[in-house]
């Protein structure tokens, strides 16, 4: 039934995109995405306000039995995220793809837009599908659409490599998911998520959960399955990175939450909570440390996505542990935090990738140390990027802070109530460290790109991008500021979702936290007002005094030049010296050694690669090489007498074996 609707719709969409004229393809795509977003948002808002789930259709799937499409509060929240990010992405792509319209063929552009629309549609299907075949179908559609999107610049070798690696990793994850659904089907004769409750009450909860954790974790980028993320994002066009990093990886988070929902046994829940918290902590720390040492803007952003997934999982872990220990209030607060952070991350990460796209389209590179002083040439991009930077560092008065505030509060309350104290303290410690290093990573990112003096002549030629792109970026930016200044309204939406997981029937969190959130909002306003006041006072005071301009003070050094400026690499050097065991450095050229008193010209290029890459890449190939080399060195001696001896030994062995009737 469902496929009777879906497949013609898909075909129609793709046909419309292929047949429309080159310049209007974006408008067709935008129209279809806006239609989808509206069609999804209206029931989603209805579900969120009435907290009753809504079944769209029921049907029998070819393999996994009875399934349905339905919207419950969790799906509704994700539908809203997907809708907003989808519209912003398509709008942004208009400006971004402008320069490619002449270079690429019309079919190529059509394929790109079709994949983009299909990706958004498939993500919506993923979150409304009740499981089983339709879920896997939508999941696979999502993977293939995003694979095609990454392939946009397929003539670059590294893009092809990243895309294929992505496709392979996603299918490894897919196998786990198929295995998970097959297990549900074999126990309950339906692949529906709802039947997980029966499976989980039959024991073997942990194994089944780990199966799903591996499947969904691959998409979400959990450690150590994150290695595709930092390869795929720099390869993909910026708006694709934005939607993949902002929204698509969240479908993994969605899946985990969906599965956790049905765990009933408290002892199992305790173990699951511990696993999620531990994975979250490792993912967060690994992501943020690797982010801080990257030299490529988009790679840094990709690692930061891994970090944020880690933060979301820390929140989820605390919520699960709280639930298991019967501390429902803490569980609800932490869950609200995790959900709000999911929403927030989709906003600021899209904005950051859009910003990276702006500078890429002007300067055709994302290497950090090629920039500097871009803020002078692209002031609007600089301001929007600044907002997103502060938000992702979880600094007040923006939205990132509100989400992390709730996660922190969940942990602090947990410590205060002396329930799961050690877990919560571990989470607190790690989250604080993650937050601190995130400040380092993003101050490095922002200041090497936008501040200081230009390190490359490209910067002088760059200009502010067109208004459509700025408009697309204004959507997430506005949401970032609004959630930051009015947290008490944002919390109501996520709370509806969080309450589904807990035994509460009324909005406890917004009641319990109402004074705190009101004062948090007041503090945010106070901060803004005080800063504005101080600035006005300062400017007024300066009016009666002379203001001069001059060069940056060189501390008495008479000829400072731009090459002495701190680079991104030198900014993170302190952390690198601590985190050497996390990375594998590939160095081209040679650094200036300390004994060189008058250094000659040097070429020094370093890349910090993830050590985990080796786990999936060629460690076994290297092993084979090594064994081969060792054994061959032993045998291949170039001495004819030894070779004759080998032949003799061979004959003797054959003889002995035939005597023993073994051959």
């Amino acid at each position: 039934m469902f496929y009777l609707y879906l497949l013609p719709t898909l075909a129609l969409l793709v046909a419309a995109l292929f047949l429309s004229p080159l310049r209007s393809k974006v408008w067709v795509a935008l129209a279809s995405v806006v239609t989808m977003a509206l069609a999804a948002a209206i029931p989603a808002i209805g579900v969120l306000s009435s907290t009753k789930s809504l079944t769209i259709m029921e049907f029998t799937s070819p393999i996994f039995g009875q399934e349905s499409l339905s919207i419950d509060p969790l799906s509704a929240l994700f539908l809203l995220i997907i809708g907003v990010a989808g519209i912003a992405t398509i709008l942004y792509s208009k400006g971004y793809l402008e320069q490619y319209l002449q270079k690429k063929s019309s079919a190529h552009i059509s394929l790109h837009y079709s994949s983009l629309v299909v990706l958004i549609l498939s993500m919506m299907l993923v979150v409304v599908s009740s499981g089983g075949f339709s879920f896997l179908f939508a999941w696979e559609l999502m993977t293939i659409a995003s694979f095609l999107l990454i392939l946009f610049d397929a003539e670059r070798a590294e893009v092809l490599r990243a895309a294929v690696a992505y496709l392979i990793m996603m299918h490894i994850g897919f196998i786990f998911l198929v295995a998970g659904f097959a297990t549900i089907y074999s126990i309950t004769s339906s692949g529906d998520f709802a039947n997980l409750a029966i499976c989980f009450s039959n024991g073997k909860t942990i194994l089944l959960f780990i199966l799903f954790l591996l499947g969904f974790g691959m998409k979400a980028g959990l450690f150590p399955m994150h290695v595709w993320l930092p390869e795929a994002h720099p390869a993909a066009p910026s708006h694709v990175s934005a939607i993949m990093s902002g929204v698509m990886i969240k479908t993994g988070v969605y899946g985990i939450m969906r599965v956790m929902w049905y765990v009933v046994d408290m002892a199992d829940l305790q173990i699951i909570g511990t696993i999620i918290l531990a994975v979250g902590i490792i993912t967060g720390l690994w992501g943020v440390i690797l982010a801080a040492v990257q030299n490529d803007a988009k790679r840094l952003l990709a690692y930061s996505s891994i970090e944020n997934i880690g933060v979301i999982f820390i929140g989820l872990g605390i919520a699960t542990l709280g639930q298991a220990a019967g501390n429902h209030l803490v569980a609800t607060i932490a869950l609200c935090g995790a959900l709000l952070h999911t929403v927030n991350h989709s906003l600021f990460k899209s904005l950051l990738f859009f910003g990276a796209g702006n500078i890429y389209s002007q300067m055709h590179t994302t290497l950090l140390d090629r920039f500097g002083g871009v803020a002078k040439h692209m002031p609007v991009t600089a301001i929007l990027f600044f907002i997103a930077t502060l938000a992702i560092c979880a600094l007040p008065p923006l939205n990132g802070f509100v989400g992390e505030f709730l996660i922190y509060l969940g942990m602090l309350d947990s410590v205060r109530d002396n329930v799961n104290t050690v877990y919560a303290a571990g989470g607190l410690l790690s989250l604080a460290l993650i937050g601190g290093i995130a400040v380092l990573a993003f101050s490095k990112l922002y200041s090497t790109i936008f501040l200081g003096s230009p390190r490359h002549h490209h910067v002088a030629e760059s200009q502010e991008v067109d208004n459509v792109r700025i408009g697309a970026m204004a959507i997430p930016a506005a949401a970032i500021i609004l959630i930051g200044l009015f947290p008490q309204f944002a919390i109501r939406i996520v709370e509806v979702v969080a309450l589904q997981f807990t035994p509460y029937t009324e909005p406890v969190v917004s009641q319990y936290l109402s004074p705190a959130l009101t004062k948090l909002s007041l503090t945010a306003w106070l901060l803004v007002i005080i800063i504005a006041l101080l600035y006005v006072i300062k400017s007024r005071a300066q009016r009666s005094r002379t203001i001069d301009q001059g060069p940056t003070w060189g501390c008495g050094f008479t000829s400072p030049n731009i090459r002495m400026q701190y680079t991104g690499e030198s900014f993170a050097e302190g952390l690198e010296s601590i985190a050497t065991s996390f990375t594998q450095d590939t160095v081209e050229g040679r650094a200036v050694s300390k004994s060189e008193i008058f250094p000659s010209s040097h070429n020094y290029n370093v890349r910090h690669k993830d050590k985990i890459d080796r786990l999936f890449a060629a460690w076994w190939v290297e092993l084979l090489h090594m064994i081969n080399k060792r054994v061959m060195n032993l045998l291949r001696t170039s001495k004819i007498n030894l070779y004759i001896a080998y032949a003799l030994i061979f004959l003797v062995v054959i003889f002995v074996l035939s005597l023993l009737k073994l051959i």
Partner: protein, 304 residues
């Protein structure tokens, strides 16, 4: 009324601490020393000066001092003086305090990087790293207080009526020690950073504001005093929580605790080598974790 008094006391503390530090150092060195209010006169002088801005900088550089001072002021509004009530207080305001100060930190890093100077870059890079490493100590310190007092806002943690309790005393004294250490790091004092050094290569905090002058510099100085006073007041409150919960006890304690300890340490000890700083700060974080565990064990009432 109590709120006004509270805010005034924190302001007085922030203004007095630099004076006490200078007097202590002068006394220990056997010098006459500068007058107690010299730092206020310096700032007053700075306010009257004209300004020079680097041509490399953007508008961010000019707004940064306002954000820095604004964030410090907002952070100050969370801090109670013993049993008095601060202006802003809610569940979890400890987190808000920490992140407001993080906002101050990132802004001053941006301002430093905006000048394009290699020296200021050095300072910014160090500040970013040390700030990241001290953050866990701060949070786990708050967690210890939350665990032991059963509240998550400063006002309730320190206002809470308690009779003398040995366990509480142990934990509070240890936490106070932790926060004095955090004060050294956060306000850039010996052994982490030496504000009196004359070599830009080894500075941290001072080198980040090399290009500021006039009223901007004055704002940065004031913000640093406020930051220092906040941490010092938390340490003093923790000590006050063990015996008497009164503001007239906590305020002079906060001034003297930091003033004397910073003065004595700066007179007797040199600055760490920069490579040792990371070790020093990570040790403070480890110490914080240890204190938390001691608190946890005492809370469990295990006979040790």
């Amino acid at each position: 009324m109590a709120i006004v008094l509270n805010t005034l006391l924190v302001i007085i503390t922030s203004l007095a601490i630099p004076g006490v530090i200078n007097r202590t150092r002068a006394l220990l060195a056997g010098r006459q020393g500068m007058p107690f209010t010299q730092h206020l006169r310096n700032v007053n002088l700075l306010m009257k000066k004209s300004t020079v801005y680097s041509t490399t900088t953007t508008a961010l550089f000019r707004i940064a001092p306002a954000i820095y001072l604004g964030a410090a002021i907002v952070a100050m509004l969370f801090i109670p003086v013993a049993d008095l009530y601060p202006l802003i207080s809610f569940d979890g305001d400890v987190i808000c305090f920490a992140y407001t100060l993080a906002l101050a930190r990132i802004i001053i890093i941006f301002a430093a990087m905006d000048t394009g100077s290699s020296f200021e870059g050095m300072g910014a890079a160090r500040e970013a790293l040390y700030g990241a490493l001290i953050e866990p100590a701060l949070m786990i310190g708050f967690a210890t207080l939350a665990l032991f007092c059963g509240y998550t806002s400063f006002a309730e943690i320190f206002e809470h009526e308690q009779t003398f309790d040995l366990h509480l005393t142990i934990v509070m004294l240890l936490t106070a020690f932790l926060f004095v250490n955090i004060t050294f790091v956060e306000s850039g004092r010996v052994p982490v950073d030496d504000p009196r050094t004359h070599l830009e290569l080894t500075m941290i905090h001072e080198v980040m504001c090399l290009d500021y002058c006039g009223i901007d510099m004055a704002m940065i100085h004031i913000a640093s005093w406020i930051k220092c006073a906040c941490f010092s007041m938390i340490a003093a409150n923790a000590i006050a929580a063990t015996c008497c919960f009164n503001w007239w006890f906590a305020t002079p304690l906060a001034i003297l605790l930091t003033g004397l300890s910073v003065g004595v340490v700066e007179s007797t000890q040199g600055r760490n080598k920069l490579v040792r700083n990371t070790t020093f700060i990570v040790t403070i974080s480890a110490l914080a974790a240890l204190i938390f565990f001691i608190g946890y064990l005492l809370k469990l009432d295990i006979n040790i």
